[in-house]
């Protein structure tokens, strides 16, 4: 059954939310725009994470040993192989197929072990420094190199998590895995979950290791260290290449920057996969919605849709994970709706799954004064095998009596359930989001139960 923006657990019909699990739930057809930040392992209170960081840095520095022992070709091959780890599915790729680094970039990285005296003698302490020294290396590369060094651990972690959550494992033959003892890639047969769409193995990553930007990174260095400490001519700012050259020639500056970042490690935290908007912001958005006119004059409909989608994604979290906002056309009318994964975290969500086959919930947005029969029909036509037979119309006012009866008749005739969520309901949801006396999702449950009670038994 095709669903919108499918995740691994959706395919296997496993009801858990992102907030309940320790790992990042991978999408099946696109990457997740987060990266493994090795600094989070370095600063972690867990000895396991610290040890993994040490092993990772040692392994990377071994490339320097190879370079200085005249085995540059071997080091080059290892580094190129390390530069892409598509099994973890992190990054911005829409196709889940990243590319390895070029030989030229790899040579640039390896040359650091010869040209910078501090690295020749002591090696790196943080892999992320490469971003400050070599062009074409950014957070995605750092993340992939880190994951490849830790692949053996990540496979064990993936197996453990899959066994806990009931995700099926399949044999992935001859997977190249970096071996810490021999400092080389060894092919191993491993059991991993598979992407059902591509057949590719999937490796899970703990949520506590991920960030949007690495703590030590080029942009942060440029803004917070280079400009204030080195200074730039604002009329003629230096190019990125010039700054990288400067850093290679003045590695002491990079070390000072890294020391600062180490000292401020308390501020370095993993990024949450979803950040609910704060209460103040929720109240502002509600105020905007309540003051909007109905209809599409002055783009009121677009503003309504934007504000409602941001509000609902927050109000329904963590019980419903937001999948995506989408647009479709029905009878020449542009319709916008929100799709949530039905994680069955509440009893009524379980009922909706069982009774209406809804693995995802659709919320159709209608900035109209009064919902008409055609609006119900548009949603009714959309509900079906893919999305299940449950839908919510988010609109300004309650359904008129005849339209409500229309929804009851739809239930009687086709066992489809369409409920409304009005301004008043959203106001109550925001109120309980602020007061924390009840859960906003309970308002949705109330409306669902009211509808079911109105249906003939």
């Amino acid at each position: 059954m095709p669903i919108i923006r499918p995740r691994l657990n959706d395919f296997y019909d496993l009801p858990f939310t992102q907030s309940e699990v320790d790992f990042v739930i991978p999408f099946l057809d696109e990457d997740i725009p987060f990266y493994v930040d090795p600094f989070l392992l370095w600063k972690s209170p867990s000895m396991q994470d610290n040890s993994l960081h040490t092993a990772m840095v040692n392994s990377f520095n071994h490339l320097g040993v190879l370079v200085n022992a005249g085995r540059e070709v071997e080091a080059l091959q290892i580094l190129v192989s390390l530069s892409e780890c598509r099994e973890v599915g992190l990054g911005v790729s829409k196709t889940k197929r990243g590319a390895r680094i070029s030989v030229k970039t790899a040579e640039g990285i390896l040359s650091l072990f010869r040209s910078i005296p501090q690295l020749v003698t002591h090696g790196f302490t943080h892999l992320e420094e490469i971003q400050l020294l070599v062009d074409n290396v950014a957070r995605d590369r750092i993340s992939d190199i880190a994951c490849n060094f830790m692949k053996s651990f990540l496979i064990d972690y993936t197996i453990e998590q899959c066994e806990q959550r009931g995700i099926p494992l399949t044999k992935s033959p001859a997977m190249p895995i970096y071996d810490y003892k021999s400092h080389s890639f060894v092919d191993e047969d491993v059991f991993l979950p598979q992407n059902p769409e591509t057949g590719q193995p999937i490796i899970l990553v703990p949520k506590r290791w991920i960030r949007h930007f690495t703590w030590i990174g080029y942009d942060d260095y440029f803004e917070k260290y280079y400009i204030p400490e080195i200074g730039i001519d604002e009329n003629n700012p230096p190019s990125r290449i010039a700054i990288l050259n400067f850093n290679r020639e003045n590695y002491g500056q990079v070390q000072l920057y890294v020391e600062r970042k180490e000292r401020s490690q308390q501020d370095c935290r993993n990024d949450p996969l979803f950040t609910p908007i704060p209460v103040l912001s929720a109240n502002r958005k509600l105020g905007t919605i309540l003051n909007l006119k109905t209809g599409n004059a002055d783009r009121a409909d677009r503003e309504y849709e934007t504000n409602v989608s941001q509000l609902l994604a927050t109000l329904l979290y963590p019980h419903l994970d937001f999948a995506q906002e989408q647009s479709r056309t029905d009878s020449g009318v542009l319709i916008r709706d929100l799709i949530f994964y039905n994680s069955r975290s509440e009893d009524f969500l379980q009922d909706i799954f069982q009774d209406f086959g809804s693995r995802q919930l659709v919320f159709e947005l209608k900035n109209v004064k009064s919902v008409e029969r055609e609006h119900i029909n548009q949603l009714n036509r959309y509900l079906g095998d893919n999305l299940g037979r449950f839908g919510v119309i988010v609109t300004r006012n309650g359904l008129p009596r005849n339209i409500f009866q229309n929804t009851v008749d739809l239930w009687s005739g086709q066992r489809k359930c369409i409920i409304a969520l009005t301004d008043e309901d959203i106001e109550l949801m925001v109120s309980v989001y602020e007061s924390r006396q009840r859960l906003p999702i309970e308002v949705l449950k109330r409306n669902y139960l009211d509808f079911i009670r109105a249906c003939p038994s």
């Binding site: 309980v432 007061s435 006396q437 109330r446």
Partner: protein, 106 residues
Amino acid sequence: MNTKQEFRKVQEQIEALHSEIDKLAKKDPNGAINKFKLAFINEVLTKANAILTEEYLPFAQFRTFDVESVPSNSDVLLVLSQYMSSFQRKSVDDTPPLMEGLLGDM
């Protein structure tokens, strides 16, 4: 506990709840009341229903709050006010007339 003591106890509980919810309702009349408070309110209302009997119940259809209906502070306050009135009315009705007592003493 005899009937009179039970009557007084439940009446006092309703008055105390009314006083508490009144504060919440003044702050946020449309705010939802939490499940914890609602469970206690329903417990007291169940006892009150048994004491008042059909004759004095303030509403024909209402007995306790449906937790799933997310009642607001003002909803709860309205109901508690009505129950307070009913308790006062029953209390007055159950008190023997003053003259009757005096005649009995003679």
